[in-house]
């Protein structure tokens, strides 16, 4: 029997001033709880990997909260990625030194892709994630946005993804803004279109409701899947907060076995 292929299933947690929040379409941050408590629960649930994003650091021009990052890294016995407010190499170094495996670059990549190149050559491509926030313009075309979705760019996600790969990113986190918090499934067309242009792994984010969406994302070309709402709400009911994550048996039966 051929060995079963596993894909990474990654919870993404938004933080805002030290609090865990969940947005819808990058707006209306709702207080979910304490990030350290959430990390402890995700540890117990043996998640594959965890990503923490400070949702307003770029917008407000604030520094990463190093104290909080250190506390989170110290509790994380799985790979940890951090994004939000990283604008120069010294900040990235400080974050790596705290025990974080990967930094996520979004606004800084769009403004200064050479920063990605420099970090990738120093720390290895596997530690540099470029996140592309994708929205639809008034004609319904996909375009890339930066700075917490507040700044528009003319690049299509396919163009920006190729730029990220050429700049040296090790993987691409593809985030559909219009899917954020929607619990309506990933944008599988977007995943298909962008992954077809990439050699590095694509991680899909935005809209996942559960394992069947995750399977479909991988079948559409994603190498890994990320999700936020479905891992913080009880059975996708946004009135009821419950940190959750599918166990290995569920993932095996509903995702891995079909790959």
């Amino acid at each position: 029997m051929a060995a079963m292929r596993r894909i990474r299933v990654i919870p993404v947690l938004g933080i805002d001033r030290g609090r865990l929040v969940k947005t819808v379409g990058f707006k209306h941050p709702k207080y979910i709880g304490d990030p350290l408590n959430a990390i402890k629960i995700f540890n117990d649930k043996e998640v594959d990997e965890l990503a923490i994003v400070d949702i307003r650091a770029a917008l407000n021009g604030t520094e990463p909260d190093y104290e909080l990052i250190a506390d989170m890294a110290g509790e994380c016995f799985m790979p940890l990625a951090y994004g939000g407010g990283i604008r120069h190499a010294d900040q990235a170094k400080r974050i790596f030194d705290l025990g974080v495996e990967k930094v996520i670059m979004n606004s800084a990549f769009l403004e200064q892709p050479e920063l990605v190149t420099g970090l990738a050559s120093n720390y290895g491509a596997q530690s540099i994630v470029v996140c592309l926030d994708v929205d639809r313009n008034m004609f319904g075309k996909w375009r890339v946005k930066g700075v917490s979705g507040s700044r528009k760019y003319e690049w299509t996600p396919e163009e920006a993804a190729v730029m990220a790969e050429e700049a040296g990113a090790g993987e691409l986190l593809l985030h559909a803004i219009y899917k954020d918090g929607s619990l309506s499934g990933y944008d599988f067309d977007l995943i298909r279109s962008v992954s077809g242009r990439l050699n590095i792994p694509l991680v899909a984010l935005g809209g996942a409701r559960g394992t069947s969406d995750m399977l479909q994302a991988v079948q559409s070309g994603a190498s890994a899947v990320a999700a936020s709402s479905t891992f913080v709400y009880n059975r996708n009911d946004t009135r009821s907060i419950l940190i959750n994550y599918p166990n290995q048996k569920t993932l095996t039966e509903e995702v891995f076995r079909h790959l």
Binding site: R8, D48, A73, F77, P79, Y123, G124, I200, A224
Partner: protein, 206 residues
């Protein structure tokens, strides 16, 4: 028990220290030859380019210190990720010589055998022990560990193979010989499986 995590400028050392603490051990991150020489156990970490790793070891002057500790005083050592790869004789990555503690080569995943799988191999994978060893006692449940790498080791002595994993094909993911052990995967980032591995390393008496 003091474990020295060797700092030669590459790798996520804080994660390893955190996991050793969780596993009940004590460690110190150091590039100081006297600390390394006095340690009861060593960890050679590392993430990144093979040639950069060897260059850092040579530049830091740690090469004779490491050879003496590992080959003469037989200090138990665990290499992790690039730290394991550096223990081989040679790597395709940069085409340079390694520490030479294993008669082995570091080669890139052969893309022609990978189908549509992407390199690097990044994520969790089951690890199959290849021989009886204190670091891999028989377990009923298959153990999962976190991997991130584009190159893997190929041993010329089959008895050096400690464990294998499958990605595109079966490859050697852990090696051991006497007081030297190395792992491609990251026990420090592998939940209870990694904690179990660290506990066994702390107990290990080769």
């Amino acid at each position: 028990m003091s474990i020295c995590i060797i700092d030669y400028g590459l790798g996520n050392l804080a994660s390893i220290r955190n996991m050793i603490r969780k596993a009940g051990g004590k460690s110190e991150i150091s590039s100081d030859p006297t600390v390394i020489a006095a340690a009861e156990k060593l960890i050679l970490p590392g993430v990144g380019h093979f040639a950069a790793g060897m260059e850092n070891i040579l530049k830091s002057g740690l090469l004779p210190v490491l050879h003496e500790a590992v080959l003469e005083r037989k200090t138990p050592i665990l290499g992790i990720c690039l730290g394991m790869q550096l223990m081989a004789g040679h790597s395709e990555e940069g085409d340079v010589a390694g520490l030479g503690w294993f008669d082995a080569d570091i080669i890139r995943f052969r893309q022609e055998d990978m189908g549509n799988l992407k390199v690097p191999h990044m994520g969790w994978n089951e690890v199959k022990p290849a021989k009886a060893h204190a670091l891999f006692p028989n377990v009923d449940e298959p153990e999962r560990f976190y991997f991130v790498h584009s190159y893997h080791i190929r041993c010329n002595n089959p008895e050096d193979v400690l464990a294998t994993a499958h990605y595109g094909y079966d490859f050697t993911c852990a090696v051991s010989r006497k007081n030297i052990a190395g792992m491609q995967f990251h026990p420090e980032k592998s939940h209870r499986f990694g904690m179990g591995m660290m506990e066994r390393f702390i107990q290990w008496q080769p």
